[in-house]
Amino acid sequence: MIPKIFCAAILLLIGVAAGADAPPATQPAAPTVDPLADQIFHQSADFLAQSHAFAVHAEVWKDEVLPSGHKIQVTRLVDLDFRRPDRLHVDARAHHKGRSIWYNGKRLTVFDRENNLYSVADMTGPVDQVLDSLADDYGITVPLEDMVVADPYGSAMKNVTAGGYFGDEPVLGVPCKHIGFSTDVIDWQLWIADGPQPLPQKLVITYKTEEQSPQWTAIFTKWNLSDRASDLAFQFIPPRGSAQIPMVSQRASKKGEGHP
């Protein structure tokens, strides 16, 4: 009897020790995306990707968590003009302030409307490349950039861990299909027009890892898929009294760190 108990204890200890050495059982779960949601988004993304040029207006509501703990919502209006592969103009306005970006395939201009100052950086290449350069080198994220990349589907579905279809809901009277996806950092929902032009009508991004999970909401209106935007629309013309100031790249600023 005693030897049996002893052997069992030994086996138990070995098992515990083996379990301690074993790798954790939690493996990254495979994405659980509703095929219907995936299909709806894929159709919309492909439709955008195949649109040679478009313009859209967005009213953006952004949650702002104040140091006092209050969560408020601020609004800005964004107008986007885009022509593949290398023309982009974004105009963002809020109250009496505003900033704009022009990219004409050769140079990118950021205009600070409040101070009447603008900054120019030489850039070439397709918009995807410029967006990456802006983010990596200058710390600038262009609003609505998800709409203008060459592959909106692949870009947005990167890191998605789950997705679902939540039925039909109208947005400002437009019948839409409501889908949502989740990554480790954000949840994003999209309302896509139900019709021959499956264009996004509303986008909500929830920053779920941040305090109070602020949301960023955009309502899209005035979609214009005509290819009539002239080059002039993507050309910055300095307003009267404006002045040019340098645009400091993060690489340059990093070099200078610690050298007063």
Partner: protein, 263 residues
């Protein structure tokens, strides 16, 4: 057909609400010399972009985040009753603001203090230097410095009494020390081991339990211009001048900031 997405969202949100993970705060590199003003100014990269959420955070040397200094209760300034008609302020705790979120992203620097007023940030509208007042604000304190009387309100505005009895908003003199907390709305800016507090063209450093007004270190970067700064254009270069210092604008991380150097 429903997938477990709904449950995933709910559980993830519940976890995040419970954990209250800190904001993604990407402190920014700095033009030549020092850390940029409030790290919050340039945090929150990529708001409003699904694509940006997938980008790795830049590997940048994070400047020491200057935390606001809360004055010890015993060090808080005691209001001085200067004139009989002035109401003596009761002792009260002045809570320093942590930072001024003047901007987060290239288009998101619109949430400044004046929009939110006292509700959001506790930052009132600034008083422009040179304005004259019949009387001092309700709460104020008095500092005697270099044979002159100076009066400060809690917002950091400095006054001097004119011969006609009125009070003139002035730039506080270099070296004057205010006791207690840093004025409401001052932005902490870490420069090497020193934390400066910037508010409307005035730079403070902690000193002997209070805050001394000092000249800005050359190269310090501030997020907003002082009120009353004048624009100077020379050789097609725009610059602003205030109180003997140049404020050179540039775009960093998509927002306009100003590098301060002696004129």
């Amino acid at each position: 057909m429903r997938m477990p997405f709904e449950k995933t969202i709910q559980s993830a949100s519940a976890e995040s609400m419970a954990s209250h993970a800190p904001r993604l705060c990407a402190a920014v590199g700095f033009c030549g010399v020092m850390a940029l003003a409030s790290a919050l100014v340039l945090a929150d990269r990529g708001r409003g972009s699904i694509r940006a959420a997938a980008r790795p955070e830049p590997q940048r040397t994070a400047p020491a985040r200057a935390e606001p200094v809360r004055a010890a209760p015993e060090a808080r300034r005691e209001p001085v009753r200067v004139e009989p008609q002035h109401v003596e302020a009761p002792p009260r705790v002045v809570e320093p603001r942590r930072d001024v979120p003047v901007g987060h992203d290239w288009d998101e620097n619109d949430e400044d203090a004046r929009h939110f007023g006292g509700f959001g940030h506790g930052v009132p509208a600034r008083i422009i230097r040179g304005q004259r007042f019949h009387d001092l604000p309700h709460y104020h304190f008095h500092v005697f410095f270099n044979n002159f009387n100076y009066f400060f309100d809690d917002d950091g505005t400095c006054y001097q009494q004119e011969p006609d009895g009125q009070y003139l908003a002035v730039q506080p003199p270099i070296g004057v020390v205010i006791t207690g907390a840093v004025p409401t709305g001052a932005v902490p800016i870490a420069v090497g081991p020193t934390t400066y507090y910037y508010l409307d063209g005035i730079f403070y450093v902690p000193q002997n339990g209070g805050f001394a007004v000092v000249n800005p270190p050359p190269g310090i970067v501030v997020p907003v211009l002082p009120s009353g700064a004048t624009q100077v254009v020379s050789n097609n270069t725009v610059m602003y001048q205030f109180n003997g210092f140049n404020y050179q604008p540039s775009v960093q991380d998509g927002v306009t900031v100003y590098t301060v150097t002696p004129a």
